[in-house]
């Protein structure tokens, strides 16, 4: 009964996020005005920046959970770290897909080895390594330990991505930052904040779902080991 109501709550939340997604598409394509210099292509900003913010948030969740796991060796931290790593990778991939969609009309090329782009690609590769190391480790404990250490290294890349444009004078546009005047029109700001809210809600839902899966996998592994041990003892 509790399981059924939990599934119903998940389905309800998924439906709400789905409706909000449609609302975000409406605001991006109908409500927000065209940007004067770049025109329609600027609208990629409304998904690209929230996806980046969520990717960085998830990387910091992964950092906290990895430290928690290495400190306590508690499996719940590992479940959270596993979920946050996979989601950070998902949203980092979205950033790496939507970026070139904007770059092609704006810069004339899909990709350039600019500092912020390169460090973001590096983050994606480090997160992919975190996911892969769990699969290839000899034991679950060893995989969790290695992924936690690698996760901490990956999180160190986030401040570098943020400061890359300043440190290496990159060409990636900087819309928000300390000492910068807000350049967005009120409709643009409202659209951006709504998209950010939808992405954060989506992320929270996915994080809960993925953590639950990781915990169930742990329980299933324990139960299977107990069944096998009893079989051997019997």
């Amino acid at each position: 009964m509790a399981k059924r109501s939990s599934h119903a709550a998940t389905a309800l939340l998924l439906a709400i996020v789905g409706v909000l997604m449609l609302g975000a598409n409406f605001m991006v394509f109908v409500y927000a005005p065209d940007e004067k210099v770049m025109g329609a292509v600027q609208r990629i900003f409304y998904f690209h920046v929230p996806a980046a913010i969520v990717a960085f948030t998830s990387t910091f969740v992964m950092l906290g959970a990895s430290i928690g796991y290495l400190w306590t060796r508690s499996r719940i931290w590992d479940c959270l770290a596993r979920a946050a790593t996979e989601l950070a990778l998902l949203f980092c991939l979205l950033v790496l897909i939507t970026g070139p969609i904007w770059a092609k009309p704006a810069w004339g090329v899909w990709w350039t080895w600019e500092a912020r782009l390169t460090t973001t690609l590096l983050l994606g590769l480090l997160l992919a390594a975190c996911v892969m190391v769990r699969s290839y480790a000899d034991s679950a404990e060893q995989g969790a330990r290695l992924a936690s250490v690698l996760g901490i290294v990956a999180a160190l890349d986030v401040p570098i991505i943020y400061k890359a444009v300043d440190w290496w004078r990159g060409q990636h546009p900087v819309v928000f930052g300390p000492g910068k005047k807000d350049p967005l029109a009120p409709e643009m700001r409202a659209t951006f904040l709504f998209c950010l809210l939808v992405f954060l809600l989506l992320y929270t839902l996915l994080l809960v779902l993925r953590t639950r899966i990781a915990c169930h996998e742990e329980r299933a592994r324990d139960a299977a080991e107990t069944v096998a041990a009893r079989g051997e003892a019997g």
Binding site: K3, H7, T10, L14, G18, M21, N25, V28, F29, G39, A40, V41, R43, I44, F47, A51, L90, L94, I97, T98, I101, P105, L202, L205, L206, L209, R210, R212, I213, H216, E217, R219, A220, A223, A224, T226, V227, R230, A233, G234
Partner: protein
């Protein structure tokens, strides 16, 4: 208008990707629930070894 269509489909590819990921997660939760139920039933049926 051409760039609007380009952006629109670019956006929807992203949403479809996320929807597929959510669907895979839901399927995995249900499959694991079933597996856990079977294992726990088996554990409760079999007596603990002395």
């Amino acid at each position: 208008m051409k760039s609007y269509a380009f952006l629109f489909w670019g956006y929807n590819v992203v949403w479809i990707g996320i929807a597929v990921y959510v669907a895979i997660l839901v399927w995995r939760v249900r499959r694991l629930d079933g597996r856990l139920d079977r294992l726990e039933q088996r554990l409760s049926r079999e007596p603990e070894p002395r």
